[in-house]
């Protein structure tokens, strides 16, 4: 209930993470991945399963109990879409400061209600997102373990696998990441591009930012105006140039309506805002490299 539980940009090895939906298939699998990454998972939550253990981590009936017993301050959500909003409300009520919602297919009404409820309280990443990773420190989400490398590029993206691909490319080319954030592709996301850019701007461990956008909505355009206020360079890559208008490209909610939201519009806005535009994965690596060399 407290006001102003805003999260620092960097989660760390000390962040105490709860996994909501820990006894489910995805929750259990991803919890193991996170543990292997080094994430400090202190508790799982599954109603009616309190007292059990998963991967040696105690499971509680409610987030409140989990927080009381373990002092958890972050949570990651793997519960089914129809109960995701409820799990989010529960996490916030229990005083969790950062909630990452992996669940896909959450009704947009539920997400709007949650976002409104979280105002001034918990910070939400997602839903339908890969989460946040600080290489060498902590991963809250489902990004694959092997792709990261500690470094000084902040990555923020609306997509999942495309993010993995780009992060891995950076890593393969020796470019490390300060923090990678997948904000998710749902029409209404908790954290926006703008939010992420503001955080990276303030983050002392970040020298440059890679923003990966896609068609639909105006989240990229909304963030573009902030770029020229930033002291750090931003490289932007936008996909969906070949997508025909008025078609829905996948569940990501990437709907083009009218002229706004096309890849061209986004690229135009981002370029005007001061971002360097990359034309493809290879070009992303090149531009990031060149930018870091200049700094």
């Amino acid at each position: 209930m407290a006001q102003g539980r805003w999260w620092l940009l960097l989660i760390s090895r000390d962040t105490r993470v709860i996994v909501q939906g820990m006894t489910g298939k995805a929750g259990s699998f991803q919890a193991r991945q996170m543990l292997e990454f080094g994430t400090n998972i202190v508790a799982g939550v599954s109603p009616g399963r309190g007292g059990e253990e998963v991967h040696g981590v105690p499971v509680f009936d409610s987030v409140e109990e989990g927080v009381a017993e373990t002092g958890a301050d972050a949570s990651v959500i793997f519960v089914p879409a129809r109960s995701a909003a409820d799990a989010l409300f529960e996490a916030d009520d229990a005083g969790i400061g950062l909630v990452v919602c992996i669940t896909e297919g959450v009704p947009v009404k539920d997400t709007m209600r949650v976002c409104r409820y979280f105002e001034g309280r918990a910070r939400l990443i997602g839903p339908n997102c890969p989460g946040i990773t600080v290489p060498g420190e902590c991963k809250i989400g489902i990004m694959p373990n092997g792709i990261h490398l500690p470094g000084r590029v902040g990555v923020v993206s609306r997509s999942g696998t495309l993010t993995y691909e780009l992060v891995e490319l950076l890593t393969r080319n020796g470019i490390g990441q300060s923090t990678s954030i997948g904000i998710g592709g749902d029409p209404v996301p908790g954290m926006s591009f703008l939010d992420a850019l503001s955080l990276f701007e303030k983050d002392e461990k970040t020298d440059a930012v890679l923003l990966v956008g896609e068609i639909g909505g105006t989240s990229e355009e909304d963030a573009a105006g902030f770029i020229h206020k930033m002291s750090k360079p931003v490289i932007a890559y936008v996909v969906g140039i070949t997508a025909p208008p008025e078609k829905t490209m996948g569940h990501a909610g990437a709907i083009i309506s009218g002229r706004s939201g096309t890849a061209q519009d986004k690229i135009y806005a981002l370029e005007k805002g001061g971002a360097m535009i990359a034309s493809g994965p290879g070009d992303v690596v090149e531009k990031v490299k060149r930018t870091l060399a200049k700094n």
Partner: protein, 365 residues
């Protein structure tokens, strides 16, 4: 999911929003009969796309030309969609036409009520031509629409739309809409309001708690949806199977960049297994234009080895000669490579490499 106008209007009436009297017909004869009963009537093609008016899919009729008009419209196809149903309605001839709609402002994370004096026309066009004519009111998703907001909208419109606005918002929220639009909202002779058209889109993610029937259809789009995938047919000749919408669009952009043309968008989603990939291959290769297929999977929740099993099984079962370029990376990658060794698929190192190779194969005579 978009609702047909006549379904949307049924919902309107359920929520107390007045609509013209009317009925649905699927033969010219029954359309003419309904028109005869109504007197001055309009026949409207029921298709899930805009631009019906311009395409001639909406026509006022008299007793004498109703049958003929109904026949003509039932024979039409609008933006590629065959007209199978007609809505026959009384012709209200409104004195004023307003616009009233609710949709979602993604940036503000809230529903937004949009109103305009310029009803009856394309609202995005109106927004471009006369931005001042558009009234936007954001709605708190917890507290709901406030009286004062509706009062302000009514004052600026010059017409009291309070009652309709509250009913429309209730419908929007209770039925999990992403769009609920009345355009035009007619002000008829006695001063009352009447929803002359109705456009409703329901959040696909909320269909589990909404009683709408999904249309049954044998289209590849529908089959993909049933399998939990997203498929959109396009005009090119390179089939694409990718996990993740972003990576799928990136792959398509790369194909285009190398001079190729994607035949489709397909996102098999996270956690796809062997059977899902086999299904995806069936759907994509059911398009006769496809000359080559790119499978681009970045493993995570999706396991590469499962994908490989799916590809292998599909090729064994279907004996399809189409070249398939496969790029797999991430969880289970090594095992996947081993599984695919003897299947004749072409391996790619990266998305760019995969796109380059599949374009080259599609260009082979």
């Amino acid at each position: 999911m978009k609702l047909y106008e006549f379904v949307a209007k049924q919902l309107f009436r359920k929520y107390g929003i007045a609509t013209p009297e009317g009925e649905v017909a699927d033969t010219p004869e029954s359309a003419a009969q309904i028109a005869g009963r109504l007197g001055r009537a309009v026949i409207k093609a029921q298709v899930l796309t805009g631009g019906r008016g311009k395409a001639g899919g909406i026509a006022p009729v008299t007793q004498s030309n109703a049958l003929e008009t109904a026949k003509r419209i039932l024979g039409m196809s609008i933006r590629g969609l065959q007209v199978r149903k007609l809505l026959v309605e009384e012709d209200k001839s409104p004195e004023k036409e307003l616009y009233l709609g609710i949709t979602i402002d993604r940036g503000k994370r809230r529903p937004v009520l949009i109103a305009s004096r310029l009803g009856g026309v394309d609202i995005e066009e109106a927004a471009r031509k006369a931005p001042g004519s558009i009234i936007r009111t954001h709605i708190d998703p917890l507290a709901g629409l406030f009286d004062y907001q509706v009062r302000t909208v009514s004052r600026r419109l010059g017409t009291d739309v309070g009652d309709v606005a509250f009913r429309l918002y209730r419908l929007f929220i209770e039925r999990d809409c992403t769009l609920a639009e009345i355009n035009p909202l007619g002000v008829v002779a006695d001063g009352s309001l009447c929803a002359l058209d109705a456009k409703i889109t329901v959040d696909d993610s909320a269909l589990f708690r909404q009683p709408f029937m999904e249309e049954e259809s044998g289209s590849p789009e529908a089959i993909a949806k049933k399998h939990g995938m997203s498929y959109v047919a396009l005009d090119g000749n390179i089939g694409c199977i990718v996990n993740g919408a972003g990576l799928a669009m990136a792959s398509m952009d790369l194909i285009k960049g190398f001079g190729g043309e994607p035949a489709n968008f397909m996102d098999v989603r996270g956690g796809a297994g062997a059977e899902d990939v086999a299904d995806a291959l069936s759907i994509v290769t059911s398009n006769p234009n496809v000359r080559a297929v790119l499978v681009n999977i970045f493993g995570g929740i999706t396991r590469c080895d499962e994908i490989a099993v799916g590809i292998r099984d599909f090729r064994r079962r279907m004996d399809i000669r189409l070249p398939v370029v496969v790029r797999l990376t991430g969880t289970g990658e090594a095992e996947a490579r081993r599984l695919l060794l003897s299947t004749g698929v072409i391996a790619a190192d990266s998305s760019e490499d995969g796109a380059r190779q599949v374009v080259a194969l599609a260009h082979q005579p």
